[in-house]
């Protein structure tokens, strides 16, 4: 079974032995596909955690965390009991402390983008919304319109019309928005080629 090319790139980048990498995946799950998915889940979460702590290079720190676990995975697998994700989290905390000792947190350099700085995104959004199925397009436009109280009432009516609960509606709208965002990101990157894709 083939595995995500991103995983293969990471394996080479970290200079891990094939055995360590295989052991890491096997520790995560005996099924290789599920292990690959679990690996990516853990990596994304580590990036999010490092990012939310204000670390300058969350991707690098997440990879460093996985690298350290992978190098000792045979030993860990014999003795550690519990969710492997929590072991990664423990190592991530250690790496974060090391970073704090090495250097002060980077100064805040990014500010809120100007409210009129959205032209490129708007053009792509216009195109991507046109590619959404009609139901999804209506959902996004109706879910995110209105302000304050009108928004609450509007969403209740929308949920009733779709025959789902408010939280289910919230999740459905978010997933559509996520698909829309991925399309916009793809559009921004590939504006030259003009080909747009949805991930789902």
């Amino acid at each position: 079974m083939s595995i995500n090319p991103e995983l293969e790139r990471q394996k080479k980048k970290w200079d891990l032995s094939q055995q360590s990498f295989e052991s890491l995946l096997h520790w995560l799950d005996s099924d290789r596909d599920r292990a690959g998915k679990r690996y990516e889940d853990i990596r994304c979460r580590l990036i999010k955690i490092f990012g939310s702590r204000g670390c300058a290079e969350p991707d690098y720190l997440a990879d460093e965390t996985i690298n350290r676990v992978a190098k000792r995975v045979d030993e860990i697998a014999k003795t550690y009991q519990g969710d492997p994700a929590l072991y990664f989290y423990g190592v991530a905390n250690k790496i974060h402390l090391e970073q704090l000792k090495k250097q002060k947190p980077p100064p805040i350099t990014l500010t809120v983008p100007a409210l009129d700085d959205y032209e490129q995104e708007y053009v792509c959004l216009d195109s991507c919304i046109g590619h959404l199925p009609a139901g999804s397009r209506d959902l996004v436009l109706q879910y995110y319109e209105h302000e304050q109280h009108a928004k609450i009432v509007n969403r209740q009516l929308l949920a009733e019309r779709l025959g789902i609960g408010l939280n289910a509606l919230r999740i459905r709208a978010h997933r559509t928005r996520l698909a829309l965002r991925e399309c916009i990101m793809s559009c921004l990157e590939k504006k030259q080629t003009g080909r747009m894709t949805y991930s789902n």
Partner: protein, 263 residues
């Protein structure tokens, strides 16, 4: 997960994203975030909501400051912000376009005459009458077309008990004029936060499936409630399969049976 716990988690995620959650609580939340798939999705939803609230000007002063000094300080969130801003403008533009649709009166102004004030008055009254008619008609259609106690038949079902003979089956006679069946499935055990119900007729065809149903206690004990159009429920036997949702997967929870008898 209890409602209060869900609300607290939501609040904690919000504070954590803004860098306002105390360190010890942050560690506890991060442990959950790295292991709980549903909570990770919630994190992304709250991120979007924070951005929308910032753009809508509804964050508190404290939250707004934290948003500007902490939350937005990553290239990924900067892009999220620009896209959210574009979406807001797009939706505002869509509403504007709708309100800018051509006026009812001709764009070519008729010659002024002594009848003009009367014509305008008649036009205003006619338009008001038309609007009123549309509102009343819409309200009537909504009333007739939506499930309500006056057009629904409430049916309380208990889990099917299987015996050698197949077990007792509840019978339902649907009176004329009934538009909906309001089915209330009593739960023997309320082990899930969300349920899926599938209604299957005697031919094995799925009549209706409803997902993301939340159990309520309106009818005494816990019950899952939903509506089925009466026109779909022709005389015959029906089976209802109730599945609980756990970690995004469906698990069989209960089964129900009933027979719709002819008028």
């Amino acid at each position: 997960m209890a409602m209060q716990t869900e609300e607290k988690l939501h609040g904690d995620i919000r504070q954590w994203l803004l860098g306002l959650l105390p360190q010890q609580e942050s560690y506890s939340l991060e442990e959950l975030l790295i292991t709980d798939a549903a909570l990770y999705e919630e994190l992304h939803i709250v991120e979007d909501e924070l951005i929308d609230e910032y753009l809508g000007g509804t964050l508190t002063t404290n939250e707004r400051e934290a948003f500007e000094s902490y939350f937005i300080n990553s290239p990924e969130r900067q892009e999220q912000f620009r896209i959210a801003n574009a979406l807001k403008v797009y939706i505002d533009d869509s509403k504007q376009d709708a309100s800018d649709s051509p006026p009812l009166e001709s764009s070519v102004a008729p010659a002024e005459s002594r009848w003009t004030p009367f014509r305008k008055a008649i036009a205003v009254v006619s338009m008001a009458a038309a609007v009123l008619l549309i509102v009343v008609l819409g309200w009537y259609l909504l009333l007739v077309g939506s499930p309500s106690p006056s057009n629904s038949l409430s049916v309380i079902l208990t889990p099917a008990v299987q015996t050698r003979a197949g077990g007792p089956v509840q019978t339902v006679r649907v009176p004329l004029g009934t538009r909906y069946l309001h089915l209330q499935l009593k739960l023997a055990r309320n082990d899930y936060q969300k349920y899926r119900v599938t209604v299957v007729n005697s031919d094995g065809n799925v009549v209706q499936a409803n997902e993301n149903l939340t159990p309520s206690t309106d009818t005494g004990g816990p019950a899952v409630q939903f509506y089925v159009s009466a026109s779909q429920m022709t005389p015959g036997e029906y089976q209802l399969k109730l599945d609980g949702v756990a970690d995004g997967k469906f698990e069989s929870a209960d089964g129900y049976r009933f027979v719709v008898t002819p008028q």
